[in-house]
């Protein structure tokens, strides 16, 4: 399945990117209609886009991935989850953040983004809904002299 978008400038060095390529699908594998992380290009163009939104994370993310690159991927994830939850959260936040930025993934999930939906006046419906609350009467503790 092709889910690529035009490439933005890379934010991961080649070693870090290779490590991410090996790890990403272990975190987000394919499932029924949903693509894996790599099928959604979460470890490609979308991780670049995600890191553009969080440039402060580029260096720590590169450092983390370089550190994990020589470890078997399953073992690296298990170890990180167990021994360093803060950096495991960094890894998952960026991989999932990149994944959910892909419009195709959002379509499959039924997430249209934060749309503009005008408010409407619900006063009459609310009057009916709060009627039992009103019927029970005041519940505050009076303090006036």
């Amino acid at each position: 399945m092709s889910m690529s978008a035009p490439h933005d400038p890379a934010s991961l060095d080649s070693e870090a990117r290779e490590a991410l390529n090996r790890l990403a699908d272990l975190l987000i594998p394919p499932h029924e209609k949903m693509p894996s992380a790599s099928e959604a290009d979460a470890d490609g163009v979308w991780v670049d886009r995600a890191l553009q939104a969080r440039p402060d994370l580029i260096e720590p993310f590169n450092a983390l991935l370089r550190e994990l690159q020589n470890e078997p991927p399953e073992q690296a994830i298990r170890r990180l989850d167990k021994e360093d939850p803060e950096r495991f959260a960094l890894l998952t936040e960026i991989v999932a953040g990149a994944y959910f930025m892909n419009p195709k993934v959002r379509d499959l999930l039924g997430y249209p983004g934060q749309r503009a939906i005008p408010v409407h006046d619900m006063t009459e419906e609310l009057d009916e809904l709060v009627a039992p609350v009103m019927a029970r009467g005041p519940i505050y503790r009076p303090t006036s002299d």
Binding site: L26, L27, I28, P29, H31, E32, M34, R49, A50, Q52, A53, R54, D56, I77, D81, A89, T92, E93, A96, G97, A98, F100, M101, P103, R106, L109, G110, Y111, G113, Q114, R115, A116, I117, P118, V119, H120, D121, M122, T123, L126, L129, V130, P132, V133, M134, R136, G137, P138, I139, Y140, R141, P142, T143, S144
Partner: protein, 569 residues
């Protein structure tokens, strides 16, 4: 004070002058004109500073407000972009230690159960609050009398009520009239925002249980209101409202205050309060973004820098005569920090709840378990606020969904269960004042201008633990009654200190409080504190409404007592 202030004349400015003032308000370091001797200098341009400044200039006072930050840049808000959820943690982050903008100062928080959250800029923390709007309840002012703990406030709900009404009209608050959890007469200028499917499910459950609930009251416009536009339910209130529907004082107060003659200096970090030989304050010293030091003289100084920034400034204004900090003869400056420990309980529903879209503040709330009930084993209580859960990335986080692993084979099923099928009760717990919970100056850490950083020492007590145990159980029952097939009690997290209260206690006794019932420090007759620092107890509701009402009441008193105000010769 200036003749105009003493006579109470209102100040009218020409459009040309207004434009000049507005431009100057944005320049900071270039500010020089007309303000060397102000009637009042206000430190901090958040909710209390904005209310104070606006009403003082309206009454004819020459007011300079010094703000260490800048005007908010809404162009950096990402609510309409693909990276909205990804971007939340930086430019619009709540934690200044994470945000690290030039306006932010570091906070040493390694020894605290709850981290302090704030926005340092024009608008203050009204930029990042959820917009859930509340008044304190009557009992919140009488905790000692009713429940035998902590302290009564030196004022009552009834005394504050007219000020609540004024700030609510001025600010723009939507809600449903006449909640019986409050004395009669609590009405709104705008109708409540839609309560959504989540609100329908939970309100029906509470009606069946016989439990209190009410449609959400929010500082969010639901129709065109002054400078605000109607909300479009984008649920981005926490991270920069791009639709100009959220009431934050950069929109609701500052434009009008500047129009009426207020001078707002941005990029101005106040370092200390300047005390004269006559024990009256001369004004404040500040550093601009170019590193230049200035003395802003004023007859009266009002500190409105929040429950962390205000004690920091007083403690850093020590002199040989006041070695423990200014206005600190009681020894209470910085002590009794209260931060409202926060809990979240999430229900998962089979049916869609569309839990990413709507008003982010609160869809509804409940005071069912707010008041003390002796048999529960703790005193005081908590307000519950019914909230959305957010977008898909939020469903993967440990808060509020817990530590159960979701990565790998379970990922898609878990996201599908949570995304668009959740409802959250946020629980705002009243924490009691403890002198051991406090703000002090860190001996080593400093901000970019060399001013000592605040260090927080805050730990919750057994009362709070018992309170949470009870409230989370009841919230679970609520969501189960609403149809949730599973309810998750979110793990405790530290990044929830939105409400910074108590560190310059208000009271009548100078040996047991820092400021009097009008916000004036007992020790220095022309030095005032008008922010949430002054709260004797924390109540269990979102505090911005009461912070603003108190600031307005104090300001009214300052104006009416102008001719009796001691000022430097």
């Amino acid at each position: 004070m200036s003749d105009r202030a003493q006579r109470g004349e209102r100040r009218n400015v020409s459009v040309e002058e207004h434009n000049t003032v507005e431009v100057e308000s944005r320049r900071g370091s270039d500010f020089r004109r007309d303000c060397e001797d102000a009637d009042v200098v206000v430190v901090g341009a958040g909710p209390s500073g904005a209310v104070t400044t606006k009403w003082l200039v309206e009454a004819g006072f020459r007011v300079v407000c010094l703000e260490q930050g800048d005007w908010p840049d809404y162009s950096t808000a990402r609510a309409t972009e693909l990276d909205f959820e990804m971007s939340m943690g930086k430019a619009w982050a709540w934690n200044p230690n994470m945000r690290q903008m030039p306006s932010d100062y570091p906070i040493e928080d390694s020894d605290t159960d709850v981290q302090a959250l704030m926005w340092n800029g024009v608008g203050g923390s009204s930029l990042l609050y959820a917009c859930a709007w509340h008044r304190n309840l009557p009992s919140d002012f009488r905790v000692r009398s009713l429940d035998g703990v902590a302290d009564d406030w030196p004022l009552s709900y009834e005394e504050l009520e007219p000020y609540y009404q004024r700030v609510e009209r001025e600010f723009g608050v939507s809600g449903h009239d006449n909640d019986p959890a409050f004395p009669p007469g609590f009405t709104f200028e705008m109708p409540a925002a839609p309560i959504g499917r989540i609100g329908e499910l939970v309100s029906s459950a509470h009606n069946d249980l016989g439990w209190h609930w009410w449609p959400g009251s929010n500082a969010i416009a639901t129709k065109p209101y002054r400078r605000l536009k109607p909300c479009v339910q984008r649920a981005a209130c926490f991270w920069g409202c791009v639709d100009a529907a959220k009431a934050s004082v950069d929109r609701t107060h500052w434009p009008e205050a500047i129009e009426k003659g207020a001078v707002l200096v941005t990029g101005a970090r106040v370092t200390n309060i300047e005390l004269g030989d006559d024990s009256l304050v001369r004004g404040v010293r500040y550093v601009d973004r170019d590193g230049q030091e200035h003395l802003q003289r004023a007859d009266v100084t009002v500190i409105a820098a929040n429950g962390v920034g205000t004690p920091r400034l007083l403690l850093n204004s020590d002199t040989p005569q006041h070695p423990d900090g200014l206005a600190n003869s009681s020894g209470l400056v910085g002590k009794r920090l209260m931060m409202h420990p926060f809990g979240a309980v999430v229900g998962l529903f089979d049916e869609p709840t569309y839990s990413w879209q709507g008003v982010r503040g609160q869809l509804g709330y409940s005071f069912e378990f707010y008041e003390t009930e002796e048999s529960r084993g703790f005193v005081r209580g908590a307000k519950w606020q019914l909230q959305l859960a957010g977008g898909p990335l939020g469903t993967t986080r440990a808060f509020p969904y817990g530590e159960e692993p979701i990565w790998g084979e379970r990922f898609h099923d878990e996201v599908a269960r949570r995304f668009g099928h959740s409802a959250v009760w946020g629980i705002i717990a009243e924490d009691l004042p403890e002198e051991s919970n406090r703000v002090v100056l860190d001996p080593e850490l400093k901000d970019s201008d060399g001013v000592p950083a605040p260090k927080l020492l805050y730990h919750t007590t057994g009362n709070t633990s018992r309170l949470f145990e009870f409230h989370t159980k009841r919230a679970k029952e609520s969501l189960e009654a609403a149809g949730a097939y599973e309810v998750i009690v979110g793990p405790p997290i530290r990044e929830t200190g939105w409400h910074l209260l108590g560190t310059t206690k208000m009271g009548d006794d100078p040996t047991d409080s820092v400021v009097n019932r009008w916000g004036r420090t007992h020790d220095v007759p022309n030095l005032y504190v008008f922010d949430g620092s002054t709260w004797p107890t924390s109540a269990g509701v979102n505090p911005t409404g009461t912070i603003m009402a108190l600031a307005l009441r104090n300001t009214d008193h300052l104006i009416s007592e102008r001719n009796n105000q001691e000022v430097p010769a």
